[in-house]
Subunit: 459 residues, 4 copies
């Protein structure tokens, strides 16, 4: 056809562009996509990190195998990063590991254990309090400097981040992307192998109807061409529920690689609720009362790990060292696809190829029984300058009970944080399923955690 | 005016008409209302009890002081009771104290304590499972034999009972009445006395905007003529929150008379949420996680009692003896108003005098942020053959978090019970805030309690 | 009771306070209400008229029979009128009779006849274009100077005026009052006399469930104590539909006194739709296609008059002369109640006595099948500082068809006028049922009428 | 991949299978699709016609070029046709051309002209009254004999037909398909050629966001890969609006081939409303007041024809003759794709290839400002055993005014027809924009038309 099918002038602003790890994956994905090229402007409060990544990115782009050619630049300000952008990628760490240490471990004194601590639970909520002001600032900057750009967020807590963007700038064109559902699609592909002997299925060949909220997403229909995958998964669960599925890890995404689980939480939820929980066990366990996280022993019995922040600190050291090597040319960025879909979405939004995939956006009715405007995760159709949710239906009633609690807590956190309503925040804190302590103890813990994050959020 | 303002041919069907206690109150209220008269047909599965009450009622009606004259008859069947009725009063005990013993005390083995056990919590849910089939039967009978009658329910769990009536017969004209809000209006009258020195205020002079669900109702506006009662109540709470308000009991209604509380739960909730919880502390405590009901010591510290079923058994003996005396003419029914509004509502529905008061009916929008169709409690306008809810507004966000959980559990219980979905019922059971145990323990308790109620509900 | 039941310090701002006629009615109503007193600040763009009314008001207040004592003052600005006010009354004429002449008579060239021309139809829409900017200014002033005051609007087009107030200042406490429904209640009282021989019934003894929009309001339930008025009205209609009801005028309100109708439109609508249209025939006829307004002959056959603006000009001369006499003391304001309820509503809002009556406010669900936020007319409960709509139900389906068209046109006019979207306004203009001409002719008429009103609204 | 990608055992029930014309198109499409094969059971009240078509179908299937092999059978009853079916195709003529003659021409006596008369207007409504009872019967049969089958309807009036299916059997899996939107996509392809010189574009390469109701559908976003088509269409309209676009016919679909139009209505609507009307002019004109259909001269001035039923009678004669020749083997069914998408949808629903296209189904929120449950036309995602609407957004306000009137009329017609409410039907009749006559004339016309269709619908 005679219209343009290659775009060489795409301008991407990357907020959090100093990242050690996630940025390199994006660079690789861009380098491997031949229909796109242009400029990536890296912005980070750690400017030196952004500069190092520009070096790494340009080095990569110079390689012959890199079929997508990109110039990496460093921006001094949000304004500089955003002006003229077609796309904005946001992937930031709100605060430092010191704050995260409090998020994850302060509640343990009160018998509250968290496996991740970045989405819900006391940790997720306090992290949200740091993140919301940052996203308010970003949203205002986008409104001012790049109101027509498409914004792709990868930061957690996902729902809260995306919700904040829309709250500040309702006309924003923002979406939130997460690979958790992909992991479950891979598990379904493994089930096809284990149960039906069908090998080599790509997760993108699995069709799933996705509904819920980020990290607490559900699948109520799954198929592989003409085959219904529910009976397949049911048989798989019957085989592995008792001892867990350990033969092959479902999720090879690098971000979760170290984080083992035997899918026992996922399988237990399937047996109890009849639909497929579509996130890692470490995330799922945090959304329900102490069923799987009563104490470390309970978690161990369900065969998933509580990721300590100390591990993250060590891991960061390794990544810093790797960054040095990449910048120095001692090591090369691996040209392997990350499995993230960001680059595909950019293509689709440019009009170079429609696609349907799952995404986090405000509810416009795609989930019939969740509130309009709340950020939900379902499939959507992506086309030229459009993301249109595909109707996912209603959450089954008893799943709804579990999900609505978090939807409304998250809606409340954004609202209360924006108006600095500490009293309301405490009431929401006490409404989290992991917080099963008295109001008095709850108040102590809440005050402590708020204090530990006060550099980023004053209430 | 020249139209009829007295109705002498009113026909009331009283389901549960063998009651020892509540029936006598209704008889007294009817006897003291001079604009009404007619027939009350008593129906009870314990026919002898109904017969004794007919004797008592007719004896009362014969007294000169009884200005409202009523003939009491016994009906052999629901059909006989209902045919030709203008009003149907339902006040039944679902099952016996044996089942109630299980409802209230079986969970204690798992560390779950309940102060009443008839509305929510494990006990309220299992009681609902007994009640729903009875109300299905009653609703079908009303549809067949008295489709135009107004139905006034007093049975607990209130929301579930009324919801079942509408589920079976959507055109039913049914309402649920409860005196709990009146108790809080009396407390406000006491606050007026304590804080402002205004004595002798009748609770009906207090205007309140009521919103929530039965036994977990809230007041967000209260006034006494031109005076805002919120500052008054706030001062009252500041004075009494620490030690409780013991000077005078707020609620003199006979049903709750023995059930002491120092209003500490109510005052704590006010301090935390800023709106007035409008039910007795024993009820309120059951709607939230273990804040006030962690164990008997916690309840005692908040100064409210856990009513044991053994007490109810003893109390029944006293009432049976009184019944005998009343029937034998050794004692007379006291001609004191009960404070219930049933007779006033009957007057209003006949066109003899409009009124606005609180009532439990399906949500038609009167609470903006609760689901349509769920049974909610708000004010309504009562006029000739009409009950029209008055718009109560939205529940404040953080109160909403607490209420919606029960709204959806109750909606779910009705649905799951009607389709005998034991799996869904267990999922709802695990969603109750008082149930803070593992799925495994939860299943044991659930199965035990279901077994203990199997005479009335087979799943 | 020991609380205050008389308010002597009430401050009312009266916008449009130079009115010759309506103002004197309000003065009389205030003078006859013994529980209220205070200050009325008159504001009018015709300051001399306001001054004359202050003279008239103070003269009235000085009379012994005036039990409510009020000081009338003139305000130089909206700010001065509003500051410190408890209540704001708005009753203005948007533009002059010159503009109204165009509203009513310009369309006649295209075969479009209007009996009033102030609500819907081409005239109502163009009048709205003048009114909306004035109400935007008033709303901004209220937000700035009297945000807590209760605002009572009497200006037409009612729905559009009230909607504009809320659009500009969503927290405003504004209501719109209109006597049209009262006229139908009086007609029901007459029907009681004609059909049942019950004489002397006050319209306030008639209970009606009101639903719809101003001047196109419907009654689907009506009763007189225990008596259903629908069979009564049906018999009345059967008796009078063919020739009209001329024996006694239903509506004695002074504003409509000269405007004869035989209720034939109202009765025809009842026969076709089965519910009672509750406004004067002259208003009703304008809301439907050319059924009753095809041409002057059709209107005459249905026995209602097309009020010419020339008549209004003459009437104004009479009222100006009367104003001079009243100011000069040559004539006294008659101490007769107008039948308007404004003063009763003020009492209720002060906490001196609850009431339920019909009012125009944004839909919060009181009409289930009209859009939320659109201004609708239903009953509401009035109490201390509160107006709470009473749930009116759904409009019957085929009535809904007629009403929704105007609801959405009115919503559209406010929106399009505020953003000066002339194209959208023309599209709405063409959607009016009275506009049954080609797009080309429609454009000519629209442009002419817009031109004729350009002093007040530039698009 | 190792799963099945060809389906040879598909069973289709074809209701109205005796069709002369449309059936042959479906046969051709099936014969050209190599991934499918199976059985088509033809059911028709004219059994001889079905038998002739079975002959024609089997003859076609026997040809070598026919890569999809189907056995055509005749069913004696709906039950026989439906049992065991995977798909049900419905394409019937409700009544005969005698009834259609009345639908189209009876209103002309009252100055009401219709260009098609099968969707809205007096003709569309009376046709609906014949169709609804037939679809009630079909829906009951599907519920009884093929509850899991996918139902594809092609019968008009489309919205009413599909709505009836869901009203009778809410769990039905039914969709309505129509090629009108395709015609507008082709027009956009022509605009690309005329304005941009891009030739040879297939309409399926054009991406459109479709929203509205069948035959009154709108496009508010259109693109060709990375190119926005709105500026292109705007230029096209500016060039051709005055004289019409006659150079090449946009719509080559055989059904509309004879029915000339110069797209002037479509272009006028675009200029007035700013969005693209996506149906043929003959359909569009019937949805608005007499703008384009005031009289035959007006229609001629807008360059579209009023299709007389006499033409349809003649055309049928030609098709009957062709049927004879096909059955006799004197002529062969042409193996040309019809442009209908039915066979593609069947593939997608079997899991053999997802697709996104426009379809008529109940609103589950895909159009935010139309009522839930009403049948609307938008894009949807088709996959294995699923049709999920894609969120289309809200209709622009002033378009909404035009559309909602028909949505509610259609909803009302289904409801009123099913409960035989003649009074309500007349009220809806008078609410149609083409009916601009007095109630008295309206009643005469309505009664006449009802009488003319009484063989199929008794009210």
């Amino acid at each position: 056809m005679s219209t343009e099918t290659v775009k060489r002038d795409v301008r991407i602003a990357y907020i959090g562009g100093g990242s050690r790890g996630w940025a390199w994956g994006l660079m690789a994905d861009l380098a491997m996509e031949k229909s796109l090229g242009g400029t990536v402007r890296l912005y980070d409060i750690d400017k030196a990190a952004a500069e190092q990544n520009a070096l790494i990115g340009n080095r990569l782009s110079a390689r012959e195998e890199a079929v997508g050619k990109w110039a990496y630049e460093v921006a001094d300000s949000l304004q500089e990063a955003l002006e003229g952008s077609h796309f904005v990628v946001i992937s930031i760490l709100p605060g430092t590991f010191d704050e995260m240490d409090s998020d994850v471990h302060a509640p343990e004194k009160y018998g509250i254990y968290q496996s991740v601590g970045d989405t819900v639970g006391p940790g997720g909520m306090i992290r949200a309090l740091r993140t919301i002001p940052m996203f308010e600032e970003i949203a205002r900057a986008i409104r001012a400097f790049a109101p027509d750009a498409w914004v792709i967020n990868y930061t957690n807590p996902m729902s809260v981040c995306v919700r904040t963007l829309y709250e500040v700038f309702p006309q924003i064109k923002a979406i939130g992307c997460c690979h958790e559902v992909f992991g479950t699609q891979k598990l379904l592909a493994l089930a096809l192998k284990e149960i039906c002997g069908i090998d080599g299925v790509d997760r993108q060949e699995i069709r799933t109807n996705v509904l819920g909220i980020n990290h607490f997403t559900w699948i109520d229909r799954a198929s592989f061409y003409d085959r219904d995958l529910f009976p397949v998964y049911e048989e798989f669960v019957e085989r592995y529920a008792a001892e867990g599925y350990l033969g092959e890890k479902a999720d090879k995404n690098w971000m979760n690689d170290h984080f083992a689980s035997a899918e026992m939480v996922k399988m237990d939820l399937f047996r109890r609720y009849g639909v497929i929980a579509a996130a890692g066990d470490r995330h799922l366990a945090e959304f329900v009362p102490g069923w799987y996280l009563k104490d470390p022993e309970t978690a161990a019995a369900w065969k998933f790990s509580l990721t300590p922040v100390s591990w993250r600190r060590e891991d960061l050291q390794r990544r810093l060292e790797k960054s040095r090597r990449l910048a120095a040319g001692e090591e090369e960025v691996a040209l392997e696809k990350t499995g993230e879909e960001g680059v595909l979405l950019i293509r689709a939004l440019l009009g170079l190829g429609d696609m349907v995939t799952n995404v986090n956006i405000p509810n416009q009715g795609q989930i019939g029984n969740l509130p309009m405007g709340a950020v939900v995760e379902t499939n959507a159709w992506f086309g030229r300058d459009q993301v249109r949710p595909v109707y996912a239906g209603n959450l089954p009633d008893d799943i709804w009970h579990l999900v609505i609690r978090h939807v409304t807590n998250q809606e409340g956190v954004v609202k209360a944080c924006m108006k600095k309503d500490r009293k309301m925040l405490f009431n929401i804190f006490m409404n989290d399923p992991l917080v099963r302590i008295s109001p008095k103890e709850g108040k102590e813990l809440f005050d402590t955690m708020i204090k530990n994050t006060e550099k980023y959020c004053v209430l």
